[in-house]
Symmetry: C2
């Protein structure tokens, strides 16, 4: 019997497995197609300040803590795997187009200042001086030097290497259920027929966390996002651009040599993976409006996946109502950003039995009906 | 030595090969990836009346002759292959949006009537009664009962079967050049190293016809088109819809069980096969404007290929300036439509040495500088 069986080999599952193995625990990760869920569709924004929302201060603290850990985390993953993760520290711009958008930027700026976050309000001219690829039609901007990005797929590849180097066993099978015995999780049932007995089971199945036999009901639902990948964007943007286009959100995140990610729709359609004409049209329309040079780029990939959404947009971390089952799911829009801190916090619980205070606001207990 | 070597296994090459074999000639077709060029990207419109343009009356006659042959041609291909070709006879609507579009519809209608073509001018209400999926915002329409469509990929599959059943040899190799000896084409050089000696060589390489070693310069150039394929369109449209959206052209062609093709851009970019954000955006924007229900469809494929364009938009048929080399290329936007008549006319030349009068306006001699 191993110490820890992790259900799900996306970024969150791998991060938890890696940190747990580093604490001396024996760990296995089970996934039939690791990194092909939300991790494959993520834009890789590390942007807690530009995403800051009223009433989500605890989540902001968690996100900032994870952002702070990113440079060291990225360096450690790269050293352990010998693979790049594509961390970009060029900062993030937020831009707006009409009067409502500019009011939203002002409100965001006020809120960020109230929280003491480092952010700079820019005129249209100043905004375009930083990113000349932006349209002259924008009406205002915000600069957040500290909001970065990472290449989510590169990070997944590198983290896989780091996890293997740390002695974690990667089991290529579909998780069929959590085994329960005597009112306690005792391991994972595999679709291939086998079982994996473990002292503790970690649930890191993202949007699928709520549909696994043996798992008590969880407030996690799929939130569909469609995303585009383009090529030929070398020099078009230096950092992330987030835009409000007449109250609609779009973001453009450069990655790799000449890649650009444009995202994302937010749709409540269950586990529908359809790439729709309307979704792609909306993303292309808004991206071209923000950065006209996008017109010339090659459209290389369209993809739809599901964020693991929760009612308060924050993750589910720590013990579940089933003894022996630990939660590392529900990261909604922040999975890539929260990868380092989730690994640290959950591994601390696995190694010591104590959940650190930073994670306390994010246990499932906050949902009283569970 | 065989009688005829056809360079190119697209729809045109296969049609010529099939008809030549039926005349008793021994025939081989050489192509390393048959049906993956313009034939794969074609929307399959059989719409000479809705495409009628001033000054192209000879081309219109050829197109109408081919359209007339289509039902029998399709039935014969289906009987010979046992495969469906997806001929649709639901007719074609042309719709317009702004005042300029409506004037263009009026002009097209006048011209069609002058030519004695069967066409009906419709009010917006009548137009939408025929295709309820159309937007209420359209300003007018034309109905052409006789303009049909065919599933170009299904036709290529079936024609391949028919050609094989007729004893034509399909050589899976890239055509490297035309062999010339004593001032005469004597066969094809294959990229794999071999040679195919033939009494006559037929050039049916579409946009690539002008870049083959041994071929005299031809007035054929690549005209890039980007096209989209969607699924989930069952019941959305019954026939082809062609639209003028503020002077920009878009067409929507239903095919198969629930497929819809949206096309096409027209770009002068040489052999650039890039699917661009701008091209896809333009097609999606216009298609959604014409048929709002397109928003909900699944976007299943984006593709760019090259029409074999000529200066007068008409094909090159018959003898070339090189004895022994016969042309069946330059079909520009009309390759699928002209497939039956091209096979008939060129096979007649191959079998009898006489080019039928219908093809006379389309020899290369009409370009005096060649």
């Amino acid at each position: 019997m191993i110490d820890v069986a992790v259900a799900g080999g996306g970024l969150i599952g791998l991060s938890v497995a890696w940190r747990a193995a580093q604490r001396g625990l024996s760990v296995a990760v089970v996934d039939d197609a690791p990194g092909t869920g939300a991790s494959a569709a993520a834009a890789g924004m590390l942007a807690p300040v530009t995403e800051a929302a009223y009433g989500e201060e605890a989540l902001l603290r968690l996100c900032l803590a994870s952002l702070q850990r990113y440079p060291a985390f990225a360096a450690e993953v790269e050293a352990a795997s010998g693979l790049p993760v594509g961390l970009r520290t060029a900062g993030t711009l937020v831009v707006g187009f009409d009067a409502d958008d500019v009011r939203a930027l002002d409100a965001l700026h006020d809120y960020q200042q109230e929280l003491g976050l480092a952010v700079e309000r820019l005129t249209p001219r100043e905004t375009r001086r930083r990113e000349p690829g932006l349209t002259p039609r924008l009406r205002g901007g915000l600069a957040v030097e500290g909001d970065h990005s990472v290449d989510g797929r590169a990070l997944h590849r590198a983290l896989t290497g780091a996890v293997e180097a740390a002695g974690v066993r990667l089991v290529r099978d579909r998780v069929a259920g959590v085994q329960v015995s005597g009112g306690r999780a005792t391991g994972l049932a595999l679709a291939g027929g086998g079982e994996l007995a473990a002292g503790t089971v970690v649930l890191a199945l993202g949007a699928h966390s709520n549909t696994l036999p043996g798992v008590p009901p969880l407030p996690v639902r799929p939130v569909k996002g469609q995303i585009l990948r383009m090529a030929g964007a070398a020099g078009l943007l230096t950092g992330t651009v987030r835009a409000l286009v007449r109250s609609r959100h779009v973001y453009l995140v450069p990655y790799g040599e000449d890649g650009l990610i444009v995202g994302a729709t937010t749709e409540d359609r269950g586990f529908d993976a359809t790439v729709t004409a309307g979704g792609v049209h909306e993303l292309l329309h808004d991206a071209i409006e923000v950065v006209p040079g996008v017109t010339e780029l090659e459209l290389v990939e369209t993809l739809a996946r599901w964020r693991p959404g929760t009612d308060d947009n924050a993750p589910l971390l720590g013990p579940s109502t089933l003894p022996g089952l630990v939660l590392a799911t529900g990261h909604h829009r922040n999975g890539v950003l929260l990868t380092p801190v989730t690994g640290d916090l959950v591994a601390e619980l696995l190694a010591t039995g104590e959940l650190p205070g930073l994670a306390a606001p994010f246990t499932v207990e906050r949902f009283p009906h569970r």
